[in-house]
């Protein structure tokens, strides 16, 4: 388990999650400063960013002082120089989840944040182009949410001609 960088905002909750990754549980305010501290500490790459909808597990076990919310954004950072990974799980909120964008730190998160927005409806403050990426622009709802039923909407084609 690796320690937090010295420049990290004070009070960030950490816990050994699984494997050898360090798990951090920042609040919404601590989130971007923490990632920024990791970046300064040699984590050159943001490998992955995805959302999780914990609708069915709102009371999941969490480290002390972390209040679990329905939506979570999970960020995986990688340090090429230290050969280490770190996982940051930020609680994004229950309704209208919103977090700040990492685009300014890691431009590579652009598509990943768009994907999280598209599939979970998590808004990213300051993202330059928060549009849908996988679903069509006029799609309703966010398909990976747990309350979005599978097969609820028939396949849509724009102005498909009727049956002959």
């Amino acid at each position: 388990m690796i320690p937090l960088p010295l420049t990290a905002p004070p009070g960030v909750v950490t816990a050994d999650v699984l494997a050898s990754d360090l798990g951090c549980f920042p609040t919404l305010e601590e989130y971007v400063p923490l990632v920024s501290a990791f970046k300064d500490d040699g984590f050159e790459m943001c490998v992955d960013l995805c959302g999780v909808d914990y609708l069915e597990h709102l009371d999941r076990p969490m480290p002390d002082f972390v209040i679990p919310t329905r939506f979570e954004i999970v960020v995986n950072l990688l340090s090429l120089s230290k050969k280490q990974r770190v996982r940051i799980r930020v609680q994004a909120g229950n309704n209208d989840p919103t977090v700040d964008t990492l685009f300014d730190l890691y431009p590579g998160t652009e598509a990943m944040e768009r994907e999280a927005f598209d599939l979970y409806g998590v808004l990213f403050n300051g993202h330059p182009d928060l549009t849908r990426i996988l679903m069509p622009e006029d799609w309703e709802g966010h398909p990976l949410r747990k309350d979005y039923a599978v097969g609820k909407i028939p396949v849509q084609f724009k102005e498909a001609p009727g049956p002959r």
Partner: protein, 450 residues
């Protein structure tokens, strides 16, 4: 013309509405603000976020001087259904925006309703050119959560199959890349050699593609009798023929002219964009998960990590060609060192009882039935496991809630992230280079859209 649903060329507004991507598409200059324009031009690079060099972006250019055209989703050189919106000034590309999602089939959602046993059939269809990598990433994530040991033989079989798959995947890349550049003979040769590998897959797993061969706990079947000979023939043939490709492509002036110095990317840019795989290594960063963070038994075999210098198309070509040779080298060592023993874990939790036991024991029958209907339960937790696929880091983020189905399965697809480098690589190049750029990024749309 009275019927509004009839689509004819004269009804331009209908055609436009039909093909419009709305906000996802590339917008005209007059409706794009300065920052956004800079970002799309690629001047945002990208060291400390939005650092715009005003000299780099031509803000004065007007819409009537440029033209936005579509490339794809049905263009043959887009390797599937990638749609690129290009802003052209004559023949030169000013801005590019990839529009993806044409192959989105909701595989991550599907993964949530399939049990862990069935999950392999789902993930294997993501990167359909290297299915073993997907299964491997997924299986390793599940095994990490289950905390089970995989027998040695399974590890080495996995490694050998993954490397054979890397060979097949790079051969497809060489073939299609040759096709894109007009070297059509390469198309034939690449697919011919790949057939050798696929035939061996069929012999081993029963299927040529989408194998579902690597499963949580081990692999689906042991290697067939006489596999050493088959694999040796594959190794010898392909290794020898890589030198024929050298003759066919590497030294060929037209090929070199179209590859060398085209679409360079720096290490700094690649890291900022999260790009991995041959694209990152072409910039000189020796980052290969097989070497840097070894999994399976990669720390017990000898191989070189191929690294480029200039980050251009030719480096990416050379890296992939040489990685075929390195993979063949690993496969040869796998043949030599292949341990005997079980090809799957004997942990009854994940492995069904042998067929003979089912005939004589009711418990075995029930166990077998439960395993394939309900599936095994995985303890609650979350895990990220990453492997080096032919295209880069393939990660699997898995959230388990203690039930027989994953609560959330997210695949970090290398092609999806690498796609972000396309606008940067395209910038300032000509349309004919655009085709080589798509090719050298090597996106597999099944994986991009999932």
């Amino acid at each position: 013309m009275s019927d509004p649903t009839i689509r004819v060329a004269e009804r331009v507004e209908l055609l436009a509405a039909e093909t419009s991507e709305g906000a996802q598409g590339l917008q005209a200059r007059r409706v794009t603000d300065t920052d956004e324009l800079g970002r799309e031009v690629g001047a945002v690079l990208r060291t400390s976020g939005l650092t715009l060099d005003p000299n780099d972006v031509d803000f004065d250019r007007r819409d009537d001087e440029t033209m936005i055209i579509n490339m794809g989703p049905a263009h043959p050189s887009t390797h599937g259904v990638l749609r690129l919106m290009l802003e052209l000034d004559g023949e030169f590309v000013l801005r590019t925006k990839p529009v993806i999602g044409y192959l989105h089939t909701g595989m991550e959602k599907t993964g949530e309703v399939l049990s862990y046993v069935q999950g392999g059939t789902n993930v294997t269809r993501m990167d359909y050119v290297s299915p073993i990598s997907n299964e491997l990433g997924y299986s390793m994530a599940v095994e990490k959560l289950l905390n089970i040991e995989v027998p040695d033989r399974a590890i080495w079989i996995r490694m050998m199959m993954a490397e054979l798959n890397r060979v097949a995947s790079h051969l497809v890349w060489l073939a299609t890349n040759g096709m894109d550049l007009g070297a059509t003979s390469m198309m034939i040769y690449g697919f011919r050699e790949r057939e050798l590998v696929l035939a061996f897959f069929e012999k081993t797993a029963g299927l040529r593609m989408n194998l579902n061969y690597v499963r949580p706990g081990g692999v689906a079947a042991d290697l067939p009798d006489g596999w050493e000979d088959d694999v040796l023939v594959i190794c010898d043939t392909i290794y020898e023929r890589t030198f024929e490709y050298d003759e066919l492509l590497t030294g060929q002036p037209i090929f070199r002219g179209r590859m060398i110095g085209v679409a360079p990317i720096t290490a700094e840019e690649a890291l900022a964009l999260g790009v991995t795989g041959p694209l990152l290594r072409s910039t000189g960063v020796p980052w290969d998960l097989r070497r840097s963070m070894p999994y399976l038994a990669y720390d017990e075999v000898d191989f070189d990590v191929i690294v480029g210098t200039f980050g251009d198309n030719f480096d990416r070509y050379a890296i992939r060609l040489n990685e075929i040779r390195e993979s063949v080298r690993i496969v040869r060592q796998c043949i030599e060192k292949m341990p005997s023993g079980d090809y799957r874990s004997q942990d009854p939790k994940v492995t069904p009882p042998p067929r003979a036991r089912i005939d004589e024991s009711m418990e075995a029958l029930i166990h077998h039935f439960k395993l394939f209907t309900e599936g095994f339960h995985v303890p609650a937790g979350e895990v990220y496991s990453a492997i080096e696929s032919p295209r880069g880091e393939l990660g699997c983020y898995l959230v388990a809630d203690g039930g027989p189905k994953p609560y959330r399965i997210h695949v970090r697809a290398p092609s999806f992230v690498n796609m972000q480098a396309v606008p940067l690589l395209m910038r300032g190049g000509s349309v004919s280079d655009a085709i080589t750029v798509i090719s050298s990024v090597d996106p597999i749309m099944g994986e991009v859209d999932r």
